[in-house]
Symmetry: C2
Amino acid sequence: MLGPIVRRLGGRKVILASESPRRREILQHINFPFEVVPSKFEETLDKSQFPEPYLYAVENAKGKAWEVAKRIKDSEIVWRVVIGADTIVVRDGIIYEKPKTQEKAREMLRNLQGAAHTVVTGLVLIFQNDDQTLREVKCHETTHIEFSDLSDEIIESYVESNEPLDKAGAYGIQDLGGTLVKSITGDYYNVVGLPLNRLCTELLKNL
Amino acid sequence: MLGPIVRRLGGRKVILASESPRRREILQHINFPFEVVPSKFEETLDKSQFPEPYLYAVENAKGKAWEVAKRIKDSEIVWRVVIGADTIVVRDGIIYEKPKTQEKAREMLRNLQGAAHTVVTGLVLIFQNDDQTLREVKCHETTHIEFSDLSDEIIESYVESNEPLDKAGAYGIQDLGGTLVKSITGDYYNVVGLPLNRLCTELLKNL
């Protein structure tokens, strides 16, 4: 879908309001033309205030995208759209974020195995119209994940690799964690951190 | 699952009987210890002789694995297991292989969109036991794929990238083709060419 998107952009820029190396890699890998402007939005929302976990992810994505859009609105950057995204791992209504220690990682992996969990990305796009007004498009994408049965030996070996520490839910499907995942239902890239098909579909629809 | 597998291998080699750059990349990316010995098995099986498409993929995988296993059996290589794999794309019982021309790629993509198709990998492992006898383990892994609705503009732009030409089914989910895929059900790596979770699970079970 990249060719048609690039034609519709007509040289105006796509801004990714995220410092996540994984989101950047997904777009770079397919030669998507974009620039990174890291958001200064502080992710301090109170999770307990949201009736559904996906609303928390969308609100974070919204905060990130609008902070950047407002900041660059009157700058010299000729931009067309700002992308904000936030990815969370959810099981039984509980949001799993990045484990800070190996002990937390071990606990998360034990909790996540044995039943399905979901990965939800909130995606918010702010379009700058020709008359300089801004328009928001928001959505979320859900992917279901099923782990293999993980023995203590498998969990211990994975935790020792230190890969879990900076990953929501304590695993990275795009790296060693991919060996643990038996099956997914939904968009694979959503689990990595950016729902690529949904992003491209929304861009094509709105550009 | 890599740590436990490496421990059970105890230094004996894993041989990948495939020249596929994508299979190699999957294993290299997670630092899986393996060596490539390309199979000389000629893939000339008559597809029409197989009552189910997956049997064709398994038979190809078997041919690749055994050709290498027999060839290195009495060599100086200290090996434990040979991996043979063959990946096909199937819709309505029809096997889609690599399109040879842009016109064929266009036709395949038009046929595959609008309904689900499956990617099937036949996986055959030949283990060398301590008493030098050989033991075969065979299985197959299926992943269901749903494309977005693809307009002529999207198909044309993708075909022009030339990415489809060397890919079964005329797309690569790990590259630009990932933008076309709305949802998968199953193992993502199976679509790339090697069912990583299944491979690791069978290795752990049989080593």
